[in-house]
């Protein structure tokens, strides 16, 4: 690999830097059919633009980022870098991770210099480059600190400086601000955009992976919305606003609302014919839907807030987020879960309670449990399966492993565990069944009483 200490030759704005062509990615499962994570993804990154990749968690954003970085070869399809096939990581493409990925045994300066030291850049040149990157990114004075002495925001600055010091043409960032608190994240976003607007960053293009809609609208020139299961490019939007952007601006709000609407659109119903033709990918029976960890108390809190005046059963999602002091990203899983249980509906970026939802809010605890139990049995096929299995069994107990295996056929073990955990929490509230962690079994409550 050749190392560039000069900024890679600046391309005129608009030239194609990286291009993903028909990228598909499967993850191999030794138990069942391979799981398809990306399906026919086409994406082009041009010089001079910031692109946001927006999608729910689990839609394959991180996978796509790794493929673009050359860290992961796609199962099929290819990535072109300046017209040439990308065969592995190159120093012209740098990565920043959500977890910062700093080396705790290196000082800030050593972390930043890693890419230069590894590639034998002469000491004098190295020192200048490191110094420049450190002061550019606002780390001056922290050169000799250890990463763990720094706050999250400062740590991510180190991650940025380390990526920028090798003067890459393309910077790929995987949810770079998600691990930071709201104020710190905002501060870092603003600084980064300012440097970009003033053309002080050595990079020619940036890709920001995020599940935060406002963040995407705030920073990007183009937003790519991914759909899930498997990940596809669902929409591409241009953001026409000049930097610096104002969140309160009407046009800004409208675009955010529009994206909310796009992301809350119901997935197109897949016809039988599609399934039959869809070859390898395991058909996604509804029982195999991954559930995000959403607690019952959060759901109830949200429904109560929705029902109360001044909302009276219907609210704009961003408005509701503000009222509940939730991050927009936390709102999605909540709304989705309520929708799944038919207690609320998402529509054009709004959320509204259904009749059943209103009924729920007006009921006492016993009745709430009954409503929830009914909804779970009705709308969460996995719960239904577990319940009927428990009813059939003479001892009213069943191993959870079985269901976990079934889930793992269509999702990663982590998601499967998470999904089961969520279901257990819901079922406990509704007193449908209980779970014993020790023996990893579901069982019916009255049986356990002995």
């Amino acid at each position: 690999m050749e190392f560039l200490t000069q900024p890679s030759q600046a391309m005129p704005e608009g030239t194609v830097l990286a291009e993903a062509r028909h990228v598909r990615q499967f993850y191999h499962k030794d138990s069942a059919a391979d799981v398809q994570v990306l399906d026919d993804v086409n994406l082009t990154l041009h010089a001079g633009e910031i692109v946001g990749l927006l999608g729910r968690s689990g839609s394959g954003k991180s996978t796509l980022l790794r493929i673009l970085a050359g860290l992961l070869p796609p199962t099929s399809g290819e990535v072109l870098w300046k017209g040439q096939k990308l065969a592995g990581p190159i120093t012209e493409i740098a990565v920043v991770f959500q977890s910062f990925a700093l080396f705790p045994w290196m000082t800030v300066e050593e972390n930043v210099a890693l890419g230069l030291d590894a590639n034998g850049v002469p000491a004098s040149e190295r020192d200048v480059l490191v110094e420049n990157a450190i002061s550019l990114i606002g780390l001056g004075g922290y050169e000799n600190a250890w990463p763990k002495e720094l706050s999250g925001g400062m740590q991510q600055r180190v991650g940025l400086a380390r990526a920028l010091v090798v003067r890459p043409a393309l910077l790929l960032m995987d949810e770079p601000f998600s691990a930071l608190d709201v104020l710190t994240a905002e501060n870092l976003r603003t600084d980064l955009i300012e440097l970009w607007s003033e053309k002080k960053l050595p990079v020619q293009s940036m890709l920001i992976v995020t599940h935060n809609i406002e963040e995407a609208v705030l920073m990007c020139d183009r937003i790519v919305i991914a759909s899930s299961n498997p990940g596809r490019v669902a929409h591409v939007l241009h953001v026409p606003f000049a930097h610096p952007r104002n969140r309160e601006d009407t046009a800004f709000r409208q675009l955010v609302d529009h994206i909310y609407a796009l992301m809350t659109q119901r997935a197109p119903i897949i016809s039988e014919a599609d399934l039959a033709g869809g070859a390898q990918a395991a058909p996604l029976a509804p029982s195999f839907r991954a559930l995000v960890p959403v607690s019952i108390t959060m759901m109830i809190g949200m429904m109560e807030a929705l029902a109360a005046s001044p909302l009276n059963g219907r609210a704009d999602l961003p408005v509701l987020a503000e009222k509940l002091q939730l991050e927009l990203d936390d709102l999605f899983p909540l709304g989705e879960s309520l929708e799944l249980l038919a207690l609320a509906e998402l529509e054009d970026g709004d959320i509204l309670l259904t009749n059943e939802g209103v009924h729920f809010v007006l009921s006492d605890l016993e009745e709430r449990k009954a409503i929830m139990g009914h909804a779970l049995r009705h709308y969460v096929p996995l719960v239904k399966t577990i319940c009927s299995t428990l009813d059939e069994r003479p001892n009213h107990a069943v191993k959870a492993e079985r269901f976990r295996d079934e889930l793992e056929a269509s999702m990663s073990p982590d998601y499967a565990r998470q999904t089961l955990q969520t279901i257990i929490g819901w079922a406990r509230f509704a007193e449908l069944f209980d779970y014993d962690e020790e023996s990893d079994r579901f069982f019916l409550e009255d049986e356990a009483g002995e």
Binding site: R66, P89, T91, I93, S99, A101, W105, L114, D117, V166
Partner: protein, 381 residues
Amino acid sequence: MMSMAGGWFMVVYSESISVGNTEVVLPGIGSYVGRAIDQKDIAAIGAAIAAMMAVILLYDQLLFRPLAAWATRFRLGGGDGGVQVVEPWFLRFLRRTRLISSFGDALFLAARKISYLKLGRAVGVARPSSSSGRGVSEWLWRGFLVVVFLAALFLVGRYTYETYAMAEVGHVFVLGGITMLRVMSMLLLASVIWVPLGVWLGLDPVRARRAQLAAQYCAAFPANLFFPVFVVGIVHFNLVPDVWLTPLMILGAQWYILFNVIAGASSLPAELLEVCRSLNVRGWFWWRRVLLPGIMPYYLVGAVAAAGGAWNAAIASEMAQWGDVTLVAHGLGAYIAQATLRGDINQIGLGTVIMCVLVMLLNTLFWRPLSDFAARRLKLN
């Protein structure tokens, strides 16, 4: 698991022990091997090794795995602490079998009754105590301890002075130094072999899991059963005992290093390694700046355990017999072993005390500072 290995080792070693003229032979695999050594019966040694392998395998499957899996429920920090424990088949069997589980319930109920018995004073009704009275008795107690300590020191000093020539004490320290040199060089050798291999194994999750199991099994095996095989070789080829007996002491202890290096390598966050690939960090630079610091805290845990094991094994390995041939290497282990044969309680005492002193010094002056440094600087969050 690790300390079980030490247990097996000592049982095998001590089953047939002779102090001076008194020979105590307990029936068991250790004494069987002892007899086989006397009679130069290599086939019998092979049989003993095979039998031991089977025993350890059973013991591992039937006792240890179920216990370890069960113990995870006491771990702090939730179920998904990284390691995922697969329910061992025997534990599943225990949990599923009605008879056993009702027996278990009965036991549990009985235990609960016992634990509810009112014993002792109730908590919270502390006896009112005058603080001044407590202060005085505490000082009396401390003073008493100091007196006892000084008296003991005096007695030990007088005993040492009367029993040992200074030259002998010095000589034993030199022997200790030789053994220490052996321990450290063997650690180095084992590290050179197992660190790269362990890293290679540990970076691949599937390989790592399998290798962990294998290393665990090897570590549980009492390595001294293999000693006679080596000794036969040394006798046969007429090799220098001082050099060739040395590897025996690391035979059982090396697995601690492998085990921990694998654990260290597999615990490195994937994103750190991806950053390296992305920045073209590789080769020796990658080893030096990323990998070795990353696994160091784990490696040190393994190395400390291995050093302890090697010191232990020194007594069993620096002197070896095959029929009527006795091989002796120079060292503190051999000194203690020979003194034991002669039944010289004074020499045994001196050797043991000096070994303890050396090990303690090594721990405080070498391992402890290193481990502290690793914990402070190298720990991944």
